[in-house]
């Protein structure tokens, strides 16, 4: 058993986090919102310096772990660039990256990016994508745009194999969301230690403490599910897609609790632009809603599990 990322991957994540901080940290997102056309140039060269775009998460376990750590660090700063999606680019298509979408309402935070990009649906069909219509202001869209899809593969025969692409996309996306949960918790911890009411820090109130702990249990749970799903991808387990969906369901559900509590503990200040939480919260929405939100993810997972359940201690055991 080894349930941790390698030391090298963790170090890579820390380096990426420091590099993004040096490049502007929270200001990266603020600048990108003011000038959406700059968003790629704000983030991509910083990570290119670290060799991020040479990482091959499909090729080696080490690079997959480095990619996961990188996504978590990108999430910490809510970096205004689809890092996980770029890391998921398929080797056999001339594209910058690949997004996971639903066939019915394809959308992704690709507004203003030159591309080209590809998309893969949850059932493994691949498409070239064209952003639909003029980009809406990122303040409300968080760079999400509807996509027109053009099929890439002539037949659907390879769709099952391409579930690995979907799996990787879901898992790395959740590592990004995990970084956002880390940040939301850190911001909230700092806030309740500092903010005084009734002559004492909010952190002294048990009602505040208990809310914080409920959020932390959710965040910690996502961290473990994310590790498990990553290993499942690494080990090419047949259950990897189920594990990715299980992670996604756990992560989306946790994000609802974590952000609800973090906003509550920040009070009105948490809604204001001057508070970092409000930025992380707004830009977490695409990750929580796309390709499917909580109900949609639960529905897909439930259908997948059918009667056999989720792989674990008692999968395949008969009840006699």
């Amino acid at each position: 058993m080894n349930i941790d990322l390698s030391d090298e991957a963790l170090e890579y994540g820390r380096t990426a986090q420091a590099a993004l901080e040096a490049a502007g940290g929270d200001k990266l997102l603020e600048d990108a919102e003011l000038e959406p056309a700059r968003r790629a140039s704000l983030v991509s060269p910083v990570l290119a310096e670290l060799g991020a775009w040479e990482l091959d998460p499909r090729g080696s376990a080490d690079e997959l772990e480095a990619a996961a750590a990188l996504c978590r660090s990108a999430g910490w700063w809510a970096a205004p660039y689809p890092v996980a999606e770029r890391l998921c680019r398929p080797a056999d298509l001339p594209v910058d990256g690949q997004v996971v979408v639903t066939g019915t309402a394809p959308a992704a935070p690709l507004a203003g990016l030159a591309g080209p990009w590809s998309a893969v649906t949850l059932d493994g069909r691949r498409f070239r994508v064209t952003p639909r219509g003029p980009a809406r202001p990122p303040r409300t869209s968080a760079f999400v745009t509807g996509l027109d899809l053009t099929p890439v593969d002539a037949d659907a025969d390879g769709a099952a194999e391409r579930l690995a692409d979907v799996t990787l996309g879901l898992v790395l996306g959740c590592w990004t969301l995990l970084g956002m949960l880390d940040r939301a918790m850190a911001l909230t911890r700092a806030h309740v230690l500092e903010r005084q009411q009734f002559g004492q820090p909010l952190a002294r109130f048990q009602g505040v403490q208990f809310q914080l702990t409920d959020a932390e249990v959710e965040r910690a749970g996502v961290a473990e599910l994310a590790g498990y799903a990553l290993w499942s991808v690494q080990a090419r387990r047949p259950e990897a897609f189920d594990d990715a969906l299980a992670l996604r369901l756990g992560a989306v559900e946790a994000a609802e609790t974590v952000f609800r509590i973090c906003h509550q503990l920040h009070g009105a200040m948490g809604f204001c632009d001057e508070t970092t939480l409000s930025w992380v919260s707004r830009y977490s929405l695409p990750l929580r809603r796309l390709p499917l939100g909580r109900a949609g993810t639960e529905d897909v997972l439930t259908r997948r599990l059918g009667r056999r359940g989720l792989d674990g201690l008692f999968a395949g055991e008969s009840f006699e």
Partner: protein
């Protein structure tokens, strides 16, 4: 990364399942029933485990164990709890009474107490909680007053599991008044057969024998009964709580029952409301999450570190899982009652799980205490990515 516990653990798991299948009747739902046959099952099963060298496999070889890895110990905890703890009350002696005696007992105490525990022949109870000292354990009032012959113990314990069937009690009593309430406490190892000890069962909705009151009236104890150092029992209690850091593997039973539900319900599974099947899938994710949080505690422990934030987060997640999974399973059997012998057994298992889960957020340290511990740890230090 590697979440596979390895071939040794897989073999151990298989062996334990085979032993359960061979020696535990399918209707067994735990030793704590009104039917004495259930207690017999547990006692016999402990001897089977002892004969196979599996009862104390975590113990060091010099005490009859085989120094099993943390992950082997994890598999034992999971398999036993998943199958309604066929060791009955013995897990307490094996998991922490024995190891604490190994570390702090005299040679006489080790010789007297360890062999019967290793052989599965003795049941221990824990004399900690009192009517006015629950979460605030150090406020306990049971007093051991010194005289020329040793101490006389007077007082009352409550919520004492297994007291009706235990032969020995790991008793925490006040021997002096220190500056802090944690000082002046002493652990005594006392025989429950002493007529100065009276046990009164407390009838409860979670089943018989779980909870008792224990009264001590002029119980005579001597230096020979003291475990460790007089007045320094609080440190031992902290050690005991550390042994219980992961505690019972509640997630394993939740996972087993959730996983078995579609098979038990049969064709009616497809007719269940989609919303309920969705909750079932969600609970499977939560069971995995609780299991992985337990593995985090164990891995950290294995690396020689203790992070209260991990164990408290796990305990909160797993006790909530216990109750929430019980709600989902209860809804499933209510809408699609399983039929046949196996179906009826599944219903009884779900009912037992549902009743017992009510106590999950109270037993072994309430969820509020876990939240306090977690909040304290969180506020003291920021959590970093491990």
């Amino acid at each position: 990364m590697d979440f596979d516990m390895g071939a040794d653990v897989a073999r151990l798991r298989r062996t334990l399942r085979d032993l359960v299948e061979e020696h535990v009747p399918p209707d067994y739902l735990g030793a704590f029933t009104h039917d004495p046959a259930d207690l017999d099952v547990a006692q016999r099963f402990c001897r089977v485990l002892a004969d196979s060298g599996l009862l104390c496999l975590a113990w060091p070889p010099e005490f009859g164990g085989r120094g099993a890895s943390l992950w082997e110990q994890t598999a034992v905890r999971e398999e036993m709890w998943a199958h309604h703890e066929p060791r009955g009350a013995q897990y307490m002696g094996v998991n922490w009474v024995g190891p604490t005696i190994m570390r702090h007992g005299t040679e006489e105490q080790k010789a007297r107490h360890l062999p019967p525990i290793a052989a599965g022949e003795v049941i221990w109870c824990q004399g900690f909680s009192e009517p006015d000292a629950g979460s605030d354990l150090a406020s306990l009032r049971t007093a051991a007053v010194r005289d020329d012959a040793g101490w006389l113990v007077n007082g009352q314990k409550i919520w004492t599991s297994y007291a009706t069937m235990a032969q020995w009690c790991f008793l925490l009593a006040r021997t002096s008044k220190g500056e802090r309430k944690q000082q002046g406490l002493t652990v005594f190892l006392v025989p429950m057969s002493d007529p100065a000890i009276e046990v009164r069962p407390i009838p409860t909705m979670i089943g018989p024998h779980h909870l008792n009151e224990v009264f001590f009236t002029d119980l005579r104890v001597t230096e020979a009964d003291v475990l460790g150092t007089v007045d320094e029992g609080w440190a031992l209690v902290q050690e005991v709580l550390a042994f219980e850091r992961v505690g019972i593997a509640r997630y394993a039973r939740c996972e087993r029952l959730l996983q078995a539900a579609p098979g038990a319900v049969g064709d009616a599974w497809a007719e269940l409301p989609g919303e309920l099947r969705g909750r079932w899938a969600r609970m499977l994710v939560h069971a995995r999450r609780a299991r992985l949080l337990a593995y985090r505690v164990i891995a950290t422990q294995g690396a020689g570190r203790v992070r209260p934030v991990d164990s408290a987060a796990y305990r909160i997640a797993v006790t909530r899982l216990d109750q929430e999974s019980a709600e989902v399973l209860t809804d499933i059997v209510a809408l699609a009652p399983p039929t046949g012998v196996a179906g009826a057994r599944f219903q009884r298992e779900v009912e037992e799980h549902a009743r017992y889960s009510v106590s999950a957020t109270v037993a072994s340290g309430s969820i509020e205490m876990q939240r306090i511990l977690l909040a304290r740890a969180l506020l003291a230090n920021p959590v970093t990515a491990s």
